[in-house]
Symmetry: C2
Subunit: 219 residues, 2 copies
């Protein structure tokens, strides 16, 4: 599929590279069309499946858009794309973390009674927003089989069933097992996924390494 | 040991009964010394190990105090005990949930930049507060072997290592495996445990049953 990635950071690179490996066409988008990190993405993948452009270019290109911008600036990055994302699937993997506090907190406007996922859906009511892949490090997210033979949990939430099904397909291509993909219902589930992240961040600092996750165990 | 329980609800009953089963002396405390639920606790355990009194009676009696009052009223219940809890271990299992919102949220004064556990520690600086057992239903908390042969995770956090060790001993008596008890460090860890609860509440509504939990999986 044609997939746009908003954001040129590590998260965008991990996701973009893995999507190309899985046969998709990927355009990464940044603020500056000459951003070395964006151009580096194209160099790293010398095939016609990797491209780089502005936020607007990537957002026009993709049938699916990954929001992989830094949590603090994600809404602004999407605004710079200057589109209403009508009918497009926006997969939001960003976390609105504030690392200036000790311990880290969520940026208050997105915490508890709101979330990044809901904010994006509200900003673009014609888009189909799905929150996923935000509850662990992205190196694990794109290659879950690194841990416990892939037997651990990823969550999805969003208002549109078709959009969640498309997201699930991408997750399975990454290596997630269908029985470990938990659908938390509508986009307000993004709240619970982002709140959980504070526990994950704490465990990461405690364990001193990023390759861990939770598995939901039912009776 | 002599253990006081602040709160006469289901959570207090589950914990109190299990502690008596494990050989401890338990005094449940309520606002009203004639509360039928408190008196019922004594009737249910016709031994000298079960008693009922006021919040103050239970708080004086216990070397260890469980805060099992409804999250919304927990700080007030402790205030009614009219003690500084000097040197005592307060095990806080309460969750500051607001069920008047859809979906449920945390009461904002305790969310993200604060927590119930920290609030109790701040209110009683001479007490040793440990947060634990708040991340699943208490029927599972007091009998973890019901699920996956007891192989799932419970968290503790608190400023005092000795207090966490005493708490760990009680958890092991309940059936928790030492390798599944994760120490999240100081009492600010309570924040991450309470934030996670919103995800647990969402999963409980989704699964339609309370016997589930997460297991933290490390590489």
């Amino acid at each position: 599929m044609k997939i746009g990635i908003v954001g040129t950071g590590d998260v965008g690179h991990f996701i973009g590279s893995r999507l190309i490996e899985n046969g998709h066409q990927v355009m990464m988008g940044g603020r500056d069309p000459n951003n070395p990190k964006g151009l580096g993405f194209v160099k790293k993948h010398p095939s016609e499946n990797a491209a780089y452009g502005t936020f607007a270019d990537a957002s026009r290109f993709g049938e699916i858009i990954f929001n992989a911008a830094n949590g603090r600036f994600a809404l602004v990055a999407l605004q710079l794309a200057n589109t209403d994302f009508s009918g497009k699937l926006i997969i939001d993997v960003a976390n609105p973390l504030d690392f200036t506090t000790t311990p880290p907190t969520l940026i208050s406007e997105f915490a508890n009674t709101n979330s990044m996922g809901e904010s994006i859906q509200n900003q673009y009511p014609k888009a189909k927003v799905v929150k996923t892949l935000n509850t662990f490090g992205m190196t694990l997210g794109i290659n879950p089989k690194q841990l416990n033979n892939g037997d651990h949990t990823v969550f999805v939430s969003g208002n549109d069933e078709g959009a969640k099904a498309s997201t699930t397909t991408l997750l399975i291509e990454f290596g997630w097992k269908i029985e470990n993909i938990i659908d938390l219902g509508d986009i307000t589930g993004a709240r619970s996924m982002e709140l959980y992240l504070i526990l994950a961040v704490r465990m990461k600092m405690l364990f001193g390494e990023p390759i861990f996750n939770i598995k939901v165990i039912k009776s």
